[in-house]
C-alpha cells in the first residue's frame, strides 16, 4: 500500500469506510476517551522537524503488515502470523487475549476487545457478512480487507480468468476521495505501488527498526 500524504486531505473517509466494512464495534464517547476505541485505520498527528521548521500533518495509519513483524513472534498460540500473501493475519477464534502482540507492536496498530462488541439496533442489519464478528477479550487488526481478496479470487475462478490487480482493493483505498491511497503488488516491479515506493518522496514509519513495513508514505518532505 502507498499513501500519498501530499494528496491526503485528512477527511477520514478511509476510517469510516473501514469501520463499516470490517464490522468494527461502536463504543461511545465515554469509553473512547478512556482509549478503548478500535480503528483498523486511524489518522494520527505526525510531527516532522523541530521549531521553527516544524510540519504537522495527519497520517492515515493502517497495520503496516511488516515483513519482519515484532507481533507474530511473541504470540504464544500462533494466532497472529504472516499468511501466504505476506499479510499479517489474526485468527480471532484462537486468540487467548494475552495482549502480548499489542504491546510488542511498535506502531500500536493491534486492538483489543475490552467489551463484547455492540452496535445500535439500527446498524445490526447492515453488518458485513463477509467479516466475522469478534468476541470480547480477543485482539483484532487490519487485514487489508482479506475477505475481499477471497471474494475476488472466487469471482475470477467462476469467470474462468486470472486474478487481476484491480479485482482486489481494500475498503479504505476504494473510499479515498482524493486518490491518495494506492494498493497493489509490491513484488511486481511494474505496478503503480512498486513504482511509487521507489520514488524519492517515499518513506516508511520507524524504518530504522528493521520491521520492513509494506505501507509506504509519500511526502515532499521538509
Amino acid at each position: 500500500m502507498v499513501i500519498d500524504l501530499d494528496r491526503c486531505s485528512g477527511c477520514q473517509a478511509c476510517v469510516a469506510a473501514c469501520q463499516a466494512e470490517n464490522n468494527i464495534a461502536l463504543i461511545g464517547p465515554e469509553e473512547s476517551a478512556k482509549g478503548r476505541t478500535i480503528h483498523w485505520i486511524e489518522l494520527i498527528p505526525y510531527i516532522e522537524g523541530e521549531y521553527p521548521h516544524i510540519k504537522a500533518r495527519l497520517l492515515p495509519r493502517p497495520c503496516m503488515h511488516c515483513d519482519h513483524p515484532p507481533c507474530t513472534t511473541v504470540c504464544p498460540v500462533n494466532a497472529t502470523y504472516i499468511n501466504e500473501e505476506g499479510l499479517v493475519a489474526q485468527i480471532n477464534h484462537r486468540c487467548i487475549g494475552c495482549r502480548y502482540c499489542t504491546t510488542a507492536c511498535p506502531y500500536t496498530v493491534k486492538y483489543f476487545n475490552w467489551y463484547p462488541p455492540e452496535w445500535p439496533k439500527e446498524m445490526k442489519g447492515s453488518l458485513n457478512r463477509d467479516v466475522s464478528i469478534r468476541t470480547k477479550g480477543v485482539v483484532e487488526k487490519c487485514t487489508f480487507c482479506h475477505h475481499r481478496l477471497l471474494r475476488a479470487r472466487e469471482k475470477a475462478k467462476v469467470e474462468g480468468r486470472d486474478l487481476l490487480p484491480e479485482d482486489y482493493i481494500p475498503a479504505c483505498v476504494q473510499a479515498c476521495p482524493s486518490g491518495a491511497m494506492y494498493f497493489g503488488d509490491l513484488n511486481d516491479p511494474f505496478s503503480t505501488v512498486s513504482r511509487l515506493s521507489r520514488e524519492k518522496r517515499a518513506f516508511r514509519l520507524l524504518e530504522d527498526l528493521g520491521t520492513e513495513p509494506k505501507v509506504f508514505y509519500l511526502s515532499e518532505g521538509m
Binding site: P76, I96, L206
Partner: protein, 444 residues
C-alpha cells in the same frame, strides 16, 4: 538412629499448631476468606463484562496483573533458592528456616500463574497454549520454565517433609490415614536416610539453575520486544536479583509471623534474622547497582524515545511510583540493615515490608511507563487501576496467607528432624569440618 526413640516432649512446641487451633486462627481465617470472596466477586465481574472494567486501555495493555505476575514469581525465589543455597553451603543456621522458605515458593507460584490467567481476555481458551504452542514466544518459555520450577520446588519441599510426616503418623492425632499415605513408609533406617539425603542434595542442585531460568525468562517477556526501556540485556540478571531481594524480604516477614504466633522464639532466633538481614542488605546494594546501571545507561544513550520514558519516571507522571520505589527499596531498608543493632527481628521486619512494597512498585514502574509512551504518537491515556484490580490483588495476597496458615496447621513449619539432626550430629561434624580448614591441627 531410630526416629521412634524420640519422644514428643522434645520439640513439643513444634507440634502445638497441628494439635491445637485457637480462636485467633478462626478469626483470621474468616477475615481472609471474606477478602478472597470479594476478590472472587471482582473477578467474576471482569469475566462476565470483559477487561473493560479494569483501568487498562490502548496503548497500556498491561497493568496490575502483569505487575503481580512478575512480583509473585519474584517472591517465589525466596524459598527454594535460598534454602538450596544454604543447604549446599552447609550453613547450619538454615535448619529451622528452610521449611518456611520452601512453602512460600510452592504456594506463591500459583498466584503468579493465576495473575497471568486472570489477565487473559479469553481464559477459557488457555489450553490453546498447549494445543497451538508456538515456542518462538517468550510467554511459552515462561510456561515451560515455571512448570518445571513448580514441580521441582514441590518435590524439594516434599522430600524433607517425609520424616516429619512419619513423626506425625507415629505419634497419633488427627488424620492418621493422611500422614500414613504421605510418609511413604518412612522408618528412619540408615538406608532411607541415605537415600533421602541424596535426593535432597540432588534437588538442591537442580532447583538453582531452574530458579535462575524462571526469572530470567520472565524478564525476557519484556526484553525480547523492541520497546524502549524493555529491550535491555540487563533485564535477566536485574529481575533475578530483584526476585531474590523481594523473596528474602517475604521470608523474613513470614518468619516474624510464625515466631510471634506460634511462640517459636527459641527456634527462630535473632541470629537467623541477623543473618538473613545481612543477605537482604547485600541484595539491597545489588538492587541499587542494577538500577543505577540501567538508568545511567539510558541517560547517556539519550535516545529521545528512551528519554521520554526516563523523564516520565524521574520527574513526570510516574515520579511518585519511581521515587516511592527508590524510597522503599533502598532508602528505608539500607540504614536499618546496615547496623547490627537494628538487624533485630523487628528491624528486619520493617525493612522487609518496605522492600516488598518497593519491589511491587518496581515491577509497576517497569511495565506501565513504557506502554504509556508508544513510539508512534497517540492520544495520551493515563492508567490507573480500578477497584477490580485492587480487589484481585488483595484477594491473591489473602489467599496466599490463608494457604500458608493451613500448611502450618497440617505440617510442622520448622523441620523437626533436621533440627534434631543438627543437635545430634552436626556439632561433631562442624568440629571435624573446621579441623580440615586449619593448619597445624594434624588431619592426615
Amino acid at each position: 538412629m531410630e526416629e521412634k526413640h524420640f519422644n514428643l516432649e522434645e520439640d513439643a512446641i513444634l507440634f502445638e499448631p497441628i494439635r491445637k487451633t485457637g480462636k485467633t486462627f478462626y478469626i483470621t481465617l474468616c477475615i481472609l476468606v471474606a477478602i478472597i470472596l470479594w476478590g472472587a466477586y471482582a473477578y467474576v465481574n471482569q469475566y462476565r463484562q470483559g477487561l473493560g472494567i479494569t483501568g487498562l486501555a490502548r496503548p497500556i495493555f498491561w497493568g496490575v496483573y502483569i505487575t503481580n505476575f512478575v512480583f509473585f514469581i519474584g517472591i517465589s525465589h525466596a524459598g527454594t533458592l535460598i534454602s538450596a543455597i544454604l543447604r549446599l553451603a552447609k550453613a547450619e543456621w538454615r535448619r529451622s528456616i528452610t521449611r518456611s522458605a520452601e512453602v512460600i515458593t510452592v504456594l506463591v507460584l500459583f498466584f503468579g500463574v493465576g495473575n497471568i490467567l486472570m489477565d487473559l481476555g479469553r481464559p477459557d481458551r488457555m489450553f490453546n497454549i498447549i494445543q497451538f504452542a508456538q515456542f518462538k514466544s517468550p510467554l511459552l518459555w515462561d510456561v515451560s520454565s515455571i512448570s518445571i520450577y513448580l514441580t521441582a520446588s514441590s518435590v524439594y519441599l516434599y522430600l524433607p517433609l517425609i520424616p516429619d510426616i512419619a513423626l506425625l503418623r507415629d505419634h497419633g492425632g488427627k488424620w492418621q490415614w493422611f500422614y500414613r499415605i504421605f510418609a511413604l513408609g518412612w522408618q528412619g533406617t540408615e538406608r532411607q536416610h541415605h537415600l533421602l539425603e541424596k535426593g535432597i542434595a540432588f534437588m538442591a542442585i537442580l532447583v538453582i539453575p531452574v530458579a535462575v531460568s524462571v526469572h530470567t525468562v520472565v524478564s525476557f517477556v519484556f526484553a525480547m520486544t523492541i520497546q524502549p526501556m524493555w529491550h535491555s540485556a540487563i533485564f535477566g540478571p536485574y529481575f533475578v536479583a530483584g526476585a531474590i531481594f523481594s523473596g528474602i524480604a517475604a521470608l523474613i516477614v513470614a518468619m516474624n509471623l510464625i515466631r510471634k504466633v506460634y511462640h517459636l522464639e527459641d527456634y527462630l532466633r535473632p541470629v537467623h534474622f541477623n543473618n538473613l538481614g545481612i543477605l537482604l542488605l547485600v541484595m539491597t546494594l545489588l538492587w541499587f547497582y542494577f538500577t543505577f546501571t540501567e538508568y545511567l545507561t539510558v541517560y547517556y544513550g539519550g535516545e529521545p524515545l528512551h528519554m521520554a520514558i526516563f523523564w516520565s519516571k524521574f520527574t513526570g507522571r510516574f515520579a511518585p511510583y519511581f521515587w516511592g520505589m527508590f524510597l522503599f527499596c533502598f532508602i528505608i531498608p539500607l540504614p536499618i540493615l546496615s547496623f547490627r543493632k537494628t538487624r533485630t527481628p523487628k528491624g528486619t521486619l520493617i525493612a522487609s515490608l518496605s522492600v516488598i512494597i518497593g519491589m511491587w512498585l518496581e515491577r509497576f514502574v517497569i511495565v506501565v511507563p513504557t506502554l504509556t509512551n508508544p513510539r508512534v504518537p497517540d492520544e495520551v491515556v493515563s492508567y490507573f487501576p480500578t477497584w477490580v484490580e485492587w480487589s484481585i490483588l488483595a484477594g491473591c495476597i489473602s489467599f496466599f496467607i490463608l494457604l500458608y496458615m493451613i500448611f502450618t496447621k497440617v505440617f510442622p513449619i520448622v523441620s523437626i528432624w533436621e533440627v534434631r539432626e543438627g543437635r545430634e550430629k552436626s556439632m561433631a561434624e562442624v568440629r571435624e569440618r573446621i579441623r580440615t580448614y586449619l593448619p597445624g591441627i594434624g588431619v592426615e
